[in-house]
């Protein structure tokens, strides 16, 4: 029923020890996450990633309101973190776990002072399914048409 969407992958190398990289990524999430990417009506005051399996991942608005983004699925400091991303294309939180995409982040030491951080955002099709379901969108051509559109777009380079 569902055709998978290629996961988004990213890698960055940082000149710090693995423990520090993990700590900044999680404890200090709010210090680096681009503040314009938030879903609440109010401006974002802080984005918080609770440091434990099952923890919440959410934003706090300047007015004190909170909006969930997802949950912590795996908390394995300092090497691995898996969280769900339940924010759909309409920039809204979708509480249904079946519509949750996943982000896995791996921290691999290249040496005492260097760490490679690999990120994969996967199961994106779940977000789309959820969005389509709720909005009652009938795409008409089904998944093949959608993927063709995607392939066509991917072939265009600007």
């Amino acid at each position: 029923m569902t055709t998978s969407i290629p996961p988004i992958q990213g890698t960055v190398t940082v000149g710090v020890p693995v423990e520090h990289a993990f700590k900044v990524f999680t404890d200090s999430f709010h210090t680096w996450w681009p503040p314009q990417y938030h879903i609440g009506q109010a401006d974002m005051a802080k984005a918080i990633l609770e440091p434990r399996q099952g923890g919440r991942w959410y934003e706090q608005g300047v007015d004190g309101s909170e909006c969930d983004w997802g949950r912590v699925l795996a908390w394995e400091p300092p090497h691995r973190l898996v969280v769900t991303w339940q924010v759909n294309g309409q920039w809204q939180y979708d509480p249904d776990a079946e519509h949750a995409s996943e982000i896995e982040v791996r921290f691999t030491p290249d040496g005492p002072e260097q760490t490679t951080v690999e990120l994969e955002h996967r199961l994106l099709e779940r977000l789309v399914d959820g969005q389509a379901l709720r909005d009652g969108i009938d795409s008409g051509g089904g998944w093949n048409a959608i993927l063709e559109l995607f392939a066509k777009a991917a072939a265009n380079r600007y």
Partner: protein, 113 residues
Amino acid sequence: MDAYGDPGLGLLGDATRRQIFELLARRPSSVGELAQQLPISRPAVSQHLRLLKDGGLVISQAEGTRRVYRLNPDGVTALRAYLDRIWVEALTAFQKAAEAAPIDQNKDQNKEQ
């Protein structure tokens, strides 16, 4: 993050186009409505919309006398492209933050916070 092979990254790499994309993510709009919220002319908005449409990120529909633009509801292209863009920015920001933050030698003390 297929840096240069991804159409979305190219399309949404332009700050104004990304802004238009974000406005449409919040609410379908006409060219005029978008132009009111942006420091650029209507023809310039139209030009950006055409590129977004060609890239499959946006669709348009006639509603009475006006043409309304919205994100492609199929979601695949638009959503993936947008998330891709977010992660490029976020990881770059993370790298800077990680290298700028003082390294804390005492991890136990930190956990208590």
